[in-house]
């Protein structure tokens, strides 16, 4: 085993935030390298501060290191200053745990949570001293793997990554280890790499792109066919059935230097059944699997004691929907062991479940930021996207928060949604103005920050057929909002760059041909594209046309029902018919209720796998309309059949 530390340490004094590269975090492991072990380098293709808190990597880090035949370390993309030094001084990409060079590992596994990091993934492979194209790597090179939400359309990286994993990684990671372990012990020849990949492809949830031949029809749709009989035609995602069996991370890493989300994280459930039609996470992670309340409490208690954190985030796609939320929040706050010094943050708050009770409990300790996501400015458009929250719900939540002493909050919206009109866009400003007005009743300094992002259609959502708004159209809508927002004191507007939205859209639904484009963008220096100071649309446009492709075709074109989509060979558990029906219903402004509290409408996620939703409590949490736009203040019953009309008009609640 070797280490780059001796060379690296000489240069660290000359780089920004050198503590990013030293390891030593609480909970970090120093695996003893054993030749026969399968060594994983879990890599986040962005900076340390962004990648460190990633819970997926931390869960796998523990599971791999617990097993007898594997070991895991972590790596992150070095910032541009260190990268230059590494290239000048021939320092390869390294693990932060033991500073071992990346090329000494058996697998370099990346987490992909955003399209704009794809060029960083290429850069990391190159920094490791490994060929970036899968077909140029030999038996002695590490395998390149990737997991995370972006792998539901992995095609743009199909020429670069050896294998992708779809869905939950907890179980499949050990199955992959076992296959690699078997191959490590037998003779090494280049033919072996292909046999290894073929065997990996037989694991459920693993997709090996090189084993599929890509062809294109006259309009440019990609068709994939397996090159071998034993390779599955359809790759299904992995789902763990019971979160209780996976209380990970057991020893969450505590950083030495500043990172985002620097707090204890406890995942309270996975999956979401609200059915927001724009939301990929909510679709691909179904069904809902809640962690039992008792386990959540023990994980919080043990975590606080072990880490010394004074903040815990209860994480999920919509934490206020957790059926045991009130008990967990109350008991954490009153726990004498926490001495009133532990604060709770609830990321991803649904406004219709944020009650005075929760507001009061949270603010009991320290106050954390509050963000609500109404997503669209009018009830009409919220029906289209199936975010069935009433204006009353929003105002109720905002009132709860202001009445409990909050002075400012953030509202998150999407622009460029299907069927959006200017009335919908301006509705955003109207909602924000009304929220400020509510706040003024409690404090003169009440303010609301409106954050708008351009909508990117994602695979395996009802909107996967929708052609996204052009950069110009998004810019026009932002100008419209800017003007409108200026009329109300106390409303601030922030927006995501529409140029970046365009590239996200191209990659989100792109095909394998984009691999060449990614490589060209990377060669032209286009890394850290998630960082506005480095994002450069011109490099992308140039590279796309150099390869004879058309960015408008990828991003702006509405797809037809007949077209083959680049991810049709993958299975996220959802029936394509269900998604298509949802797309039609969206256009008819027909909503669909949360299926935890109504009879199953068979989207495929449960029935196809013989699964069921796992809930911690049999009744929905108190408060709001719970996505049914009916009064559920009692919290005792779930309405059975609802008819949602598009005629319902909702005014401002008094």
């Amino acid at each position: 085993m070797s280490s780059v530390w001796k060379t690296l340490e000489k240069h660290l004094i000359n780089v920004e935030k050198p503590a990013r590269y030293i390891g030593l975090e609480q909970g970090a492991q120093q695996p003893k390298h054993d030749e026969s072990n399968v060594a994983w380098l879990l890599t986040y293709p962005d900076t340390y501060e962004v990648g460190f808190p990633n819970q997926g990597l931390q869960i796998l880090y523990e599971i791999i290191n617990e097993s007898g035949n594997s070991e895991a370390e972590r790596a992150y993309a070095p910032w541009v200053d260190l990268e230059q030094i590494m290239r000048d001084e021939n320092i390869p990409l390294f693990s932060v745990d033991t500073h071992r060079p990346a090329f000494e590992f058996d697998v370099i596994a990346f987490n992909l949570s955003s399209e704009l990091v794809y060029t960083n993934l290429i850069n990391c492979i190159d920094l490791a001293g490994i060929p970036v194209r899968a077909n140029q790597r030999g038996i002695n090179d590490p395998l390149i793997g990737a997991g995370g939400h972006c792998t539901y359309n992995p095609e743009p990286l199909g020429k670069i990554v050896d294998f992708f994993v779809l869905g939950d990684g907890e179980e499949v990671v050990t199955e992959i280890t076992n296959v690699i372990h078997k191959f490590k012990s037998i003779s090494t020849s280049d033919g072996n790499r292909n046999s290894l990949l073929k065997e990996l492809a037989t694991i459920e949830g693993v997709y090996v792109p090189s084993l599929y031949k890509a062809e294109y029809n006259e309009i440019g749709n990609q068709y994939l066919t397996p090159k071998y009989e034993e390779v599955p035609k359809l790759v299904e995602k992995r789902t763990i059935t019971d979160l209780e069996q996976w209380p990970y991370p057991k020893e969450q890493l505590v950083p030495i230097t500043e990172v985002v989300h620097d707090r204890l994280n406890v995942e309270v459930f996975r999956g979401c059944t609200r059915g927001c039609r724009f939301c990929q996470a909510g679709m691909i992670t179904r069904p809902v699997r809640e962690r039992p309340g008792e386990q959540v409490r023990t994980m919080i208690q043990a975590g606080i004691e072990r880490t010394g954190y004074d903040e815990v985030a209860l994480t999920s796609l919509s934490t206020a929907d957790y059926s045991g939320i009130n008990d967990v929040v109350d008991q954490t706050i009153i726990d004498p062991a926490n001495c009133g010094q532990v604060s709770i943050s609830l990321p991803s708050l649904r406004v219709d479940a944020f009650t005075v009770g929760i507001a009061a409990s949270i603010q009991n300790a320290r106050r954390t930021g509050l963000t609500f996501a109404p997503e669209a400015g009018t009830w009409r458009l919220r029906q289209v996207i199936n975010k069935l929250i009433l204006e009353e719900d929003l105002y109720g939540a905002v009132e709860s928060a202001f009445s409990q002493g909050w002075r400012r909050m953030k509202l998150y919206f999407l622009i460029g949604l299907p069927t959006e009109t200017d009335e919908d866009t301006l509705g955003i400003a109207r909602l924000a103005a009304n929220c400020v007005a509510i706040g003024k009743k409690y404090t003169n300094t009440a303010s609301v920050t409106v954050s708008v992002g351009g909508f990117v259609p994602k695979p395996f959502t009802p909107f996967q057929w929708f052609g996204q708004n052009t950069v110009e159209e998004l810019n026009r809508k932002i100008s419209l909002l800017k003007e409108e927002v200026r009329k109300t004191k106390g409303v601030k507007l922030k927006w995501h760059d529409p140029k970046a939205t365009l590239i996200e859209g191209i990659l989100s639904r792109g095909d394998r041909r984009l691999g060449d484009v990614l490589e060209t963008v990377w060669e032209k220096g286009g890394t850290f594209q998630e960082w506005s100071e480095f994002f450069d649309l011109e490099i992308w446009k140039e590279s796309i046309s150099e390869h004879g492709l058309d960015h408008e075709w990828y991003a702006y074109r509405h797809r037809t029902k007949k077209e083959t989509l680049p991810w049709d060979h993958l299975d996220a558990g959802l029936y394509k018919d269900f998604l298509w029906q949802e797309w039609r219903d969206a256009l008819d402004q027909k909503g669909l209720e949360d299926c935890r509290w109504i009879p199953c409408y068979d989207c495929g996620a449960c029935t196809g796998y013989g699964l069921e939703h796992v809930v911690a409590s049999t009744s929905p949490p108190v408060g709001g309309s719970q996505g049914t736009w009916q009064n559920m203040q009692e919290g005792e019953y779930a309405p059975q059949l609802l008819e949602i009309t598009s005629k319902k008009k909702v005014g401002v609640s008094k």
């Binding site: 004094i13 050198p18 030293i22």
Partner: protein, 239 residues
């Protein structure tokens, strides 16, 4: 309430963590050790920990200090004596608590009380060059350095802040090592300024703070030796 002054090291990889990073690390370590601290009042209560002179990121140290207010009604004297060992266990590799004392609540803060530090600098230049440099510095009556302060260019004579420089030595890696004592009052002379005070500027490979002093009259004290309620029996290993 009892105020404890702790001395600790910062050696190895951890030297690349900033002063601010380390402050957070301490806060968490106290919480993990379940040591009841006194918190500030108000909107966002913070434990009352006062850190000594900041150490440049990347520099090692054998003598960092902090003062912390502990709620002695909730912790017995025997538990207090275990604090250094307990914290060392919980702190990252390279940070070791090497001493502890109780100080008077009226004691002057570390930032104001410390008057000088000795530094060990490992230098990239050869020994002849370094020795000549030392001689030149020591011979100078004044050493003017320019720096920007609050947007203005200020000229300072830093000669009075150089207490002394020892003869250079060669370490086991064959590198030249220079030891100097630099004042921290009325202003702190940074080792980086010191090395640039005379041409050719010295280039540092490594930097280590060896000692901090509080001078009162003709006595030079380790900050652990200060304070009216000094309890000698509570000081652990003194080196």
């Amino acid at each position: 309430m009892i105020i404890l002054r702790l001395r600790s090291t910062k050696i190895g990889k951890i030297r690349f963590a900033s002063h601010r990073d380390i402050a957070k690390v301490w806060e968490r370590a106290f919480r993990r050790a379940n040591i009841p601290l006194i918190y500030s009042e108000g909107f966002s209560p913070r434990p009352k920990i006062a850190y000594g002179l900041a150490l440049p990121t990347g520099a090692e140290s054998e003598c960092e200090y902090l003062d912390v207010k502990v709620d002695d009604e909730r912790i017995g004297i025997s538990r207090i004596l275990e604090i250094p060992e307990q914290l060392t266990e919980l702190l990252p590799e390279g940070i070791k608590v090497t001493g502890m004392t109780e100080i008077n609540s009226k004691a002057i803060s570390l930032q104001q009380a410390v008057t000088a530090c000795t530094w060990e600098m490992t230098i990239a230049q050869n020994k002849n060059c370094v020795d000549q440099w030392i001689a030149n510095v020591l011979d100078s009556k004044e050493l003017i350095v320019e720096r920007t302060r609050k947007g203005k260019n200020v000229k300072d004579d830093i000669r009075p802040f150089i207490v002394g420089i020892e003869e250079s030595e060669i370490n086991e890696d064959g590198q030249v090592v220079l030891k100097a004592e630099l004042r921290t009052q009325p202003r702190s002379l940074r080792p980086s300024e010191f090395m640039k005070s005379k041409l050719p500027n010295l280039t540092q490979i490594k930097l280590c703070r060896k000692k901090q002093f509080i001078e009162t009259g003709d006595r030079r004290l380790d900050p652990l030796e200060v304070g009216q309620s000094l309890e000698a029996n509570m000081e652990l290993c003194s080196s």
